[in-house]
């Protein structure tokens, strides 16, 4: 059986775009190349741009089929930013929508290609850090030093406040990590499970399992089909959850004064 982790291997695609090992000043030794991860990201990016162009270029008041799908996505994120962040939400809509569509595009693309960009820790960590840094920057620019009020729980008794505040602070620092690992773990776990069960099917088909193959084959194939359907759901859900959490984190710092 093939190694189920092999699908996560990052490989340079062509020698023409392989710049080999380079030592950069701050980050140290890196391998610069156009890899399959870059290719997946590019296709995902082009898919999103193409889809949005298709949806918005011939936009009519009475929508067609494609436009209705795009408008559903658009309206969903719009409702999210509106209901969670409030009337300031319109300003942050493009960011949340970008995060949502890009992650959704790459997640769904992973169901069709042999490589999933969002199952790369580097990719999800970048998304997590972009969101986290945006939240911190907006928080400091909007509130200045009052940003620290985020960690000062006014609801707790005075004696407990420093302790609770410390916990709040650490949980705030853990946010990018949980954002990163949630998306990464979901995508990686789903694809490993898919690959493992697909491997069972292959094992049964080539006869490596002997007569047990007759028993294994329908079970493993049914499992693979079911997991594929589940993975489509997960692909959408994780993008949605990422967007929701981005909205919640943004709301924390945007409405620092009148929330809590």
């Amino acid at each position: 059986m093939a190694d189920p982790l092999h699908q996560f291997q990052v490989k340079p695609l062509t020698p023409a775009l392989d710049f080999g090992e380079v030592t950069l000043p701050v980050v140290g030794q890196v391998h610069l190349a156009f890899t399959n991860s870059h290719l997946a990201m590019t296709i995902g990016f082009l898919l999103v741009v193409g889809f949005l162009t298709l949806v918005t270029s011939g936009a009519k008041v009475v929508p067609g089929r494609t436009q209705a799908v795009g408008e559903t996505l658009f309206g969903m994120i719009d409702g999210l930013t509106d209901s969670i962040i409030g009337h300031d939400g319109k300003k942050y809509f493009p960011f949340v929508f970008t995060v949502f569509t890009f992650i959704l595009g790459m997640n769904l693309l992973g169901m069709f290609l042999s490589f999933t960009a969002t199952s790369q820790l580097a990719v999800t960590a970048t998304f997590g850090m972009i969101t986290f840094l945006l939240v911190v920057i907006i928080g400091i620019r909007k509130n200045g030093l009052r940003f620290l009020k985020l960690f000062w729980p006014t609801g707790a008794p005075l004696v407990m406040r420093p302790i609770v505040g410390l916990i709040e602070f650490f949980s705030f620092l853990l946010r990018p990590l949980t954002l990163t690992l949630r998306l990464f773990g979901n995508m990686m776990g789903g694809h490993i499970a898919l690959k493992v069960f697909a491997g069972f099917v292959a094992t049964a088909v080539i006869g490596a399992a002997g007569w047990f193959g007759v028993l294994i084959f329908p079970l493993a194939l049914g499992m693979t089909i079911g997991l594929t359907a589940l993975e489509f759901l997960v692909a959408f859900l994780q993008a949605f959850v990422f967007a929701v959490l981005t909205c919640i984190y943004l709301n924390d710092v945007v409405n620092l004064d009148h929330a809590h």
């Binding site: 190694d3 890196v30 391998h31 008041v61 929508f97 199952s119």
Partner: protein
């Protein structure tokens, strides 16, 4: 885990992996030059390129969405909202108009009903008055006739009463004449009747 798959990280440049090292860990199998764990995702030498490229794509996508797609979509939404709101406004206007007309019709009906009720009441009053007047007149006629008849009866009775004494004296005289053979004078008979009466 023993990995049979001695795949190499480079498709084009095979890494020098010892083929006899079949019981190697995944780390070794995936090209043992990496310092960290066995997951392919932890090959940190590929991170920098991915991160920079992703940030680049993210920035472009953000710019496109913020400057092109979102405003376009927003415009369609606003247009639709205005279309719907004007349609709703028109419908509301028409509805208000219809309601006004219905109100007017209702008032008219109400008025007609009130006038008919007044007419009916007036007619009823007039008929009642007439009937009353007629009844009164008839009653008066009847009363006059009754009074007339009563006076006639009285007159007749008086006449009869005056005749009664004459008849009585005549009868008395006749009776006396039969008994005694000699009739009394009329005056005597009359006096006797008067005394007996």
């Amino acid at each position: 885990m023993t990995v049979q798959d001695t795949s190499v990280p480079y498709a084009d440049a095979p890494a020098p992996v010892a083929l006899e090292d079949t019981h190697a860990t995944t780390e070794a199998a995936h090209g043992g030059e990496h310092e960290s764990g066995g997951l392919p995702q932890f090959e940190f030498q590929h991170w920098f390129g991915q991160i920079v490229y992703l940030i680049f794509l993210f920035a472009i996508l953000y710019w496109l969405i913020a400057k092109v797609f979102a405003p376009r979509m927003r415009r369609v939404f606003d247009e639709r909202a205005s279309t719907i709101s004007t349609a709703v406004e028109t419908a509301r206007q028409v509805q208000a108009e219809a309601a006004g007309q219905a109100e007017a019709a209702k008032a008219e009906v109400e008025q007609a009903r009130a006038s008919s009720r007044a007419t009916a009441a007036a007619a009823k009053a007039r008929v009642t008055d007439e009937a009353n007047a007629r009844a009164a007149a008839e009653e008066a006629v009847v009363a006059a006739r009754i009074a007339e008849a009563e006076t006639a009866i009285g007159k007749t009775r008086d006449a009869a009463m005056t005749n009664v004494s004459a008849i009585a004296s005549d009868t008395a005289a006749a009776i006396v004449e039969r008994l005694t053979g000699k009739g009394p004078t009329a005056a005597e008979a009359a006096a006797a009747v008067k005394g007996a009466a």
